[in-house]
Subunit: 150 residues, 2 copies
């Protein structure tokens, strides 16, 4: 019986057959969908992800945020400074270990969670997918990410 064939090098070199490109362009597409929703909150898409991480667990170090978001301190530090300047978070050196910086929500930052509560529905809507289907795809991609980072 016919086995699945290894794709020819020609087929492998077509942009539209690249899984990485699908992900690359879907990521940009998400950014565009989020833009109008996040403009209301004065957040960029990456900033929003940081806020989501903090709403889920307040008082984290730069390092632990970086682990969760898969970002380096060289990316986070400037972003966090902007969020601080906007009054959404505070950045304070840890008294017990002065190497670490503790990132905490301000009252305003915490309150923003309510205002942001309608965002996920808007996104789910834009995907045109059922929640269960979204969950399955999300899981598959998270598994892929884990393989890539191995």
């Amino acid at each position: 019986m016919a086995k699945a064939e290894t794709p020819s090098p020609e087929e492998l070199m077509k942009l539209d057959n690249f899984l990485c490109f699908a992900i690359y362009s879907a990521n940009h597409a998400f950014t565009r969908v989020y833009k109008p929703l996040l403009d209301e909150l004065d957040l960029t898409y990456p900033q929003y992800l940081v806020m989501v991480a903090l709403w889920e667990k307040d008082d984290q170090t730069v390092g632990s945020l970086g682990e969760k978001l898969f970002l380096e301190s060289s990316t986070l530090t400037p972003m966090l400074k902007r969020l601080e300047a906007m009054g959404y978070i505070s950045r304070v050196r840890d008294r017990a270990d002065e190497r670490q910086v503790r990132v905490r929500l301000t009252e305003i930052g915490r309150a923003l969670k309510e205002k942001a509560s309608t965002v996920p529905l808007g996104i789910v809507d834009a995907t045109g997918m059922e929640p269960a289907e979204i969950g399955r795809l999300k899981k598959e991609i998270a598994t892929l990410r884990a393989s890539l980072l191995r």
Copy 2:
């Protein structure tokens, strides 16, 4: 019988349940996997995607490249200038329509395709997935992208 329930707002607000975050972080993961492979070619990951598009179809305008890659001229113009400075492509105003810039591979740029031919295999390998599975996932994500851009 039990129907799939709509997730609670609490569940919806957890970072690890975000499809967008899975894609966002998988995209970064791909960038990291590509890095060592593309260093050999002196290309960044986005530059590589442009080259792939040109290897597939030479002599394109900035606009048509942008459509295929979902990028704006404000992103492409500087990128293309770098690829031109590296000697991989040429940028020439179209004689018939001076508004357009035709992007063409140089001999060196064309030759680079051979050197890049082993890259896709390395990536497939890093995904830990079967080609058929990769194709299916790629298709799902492309469909998602289309929904988001609708």
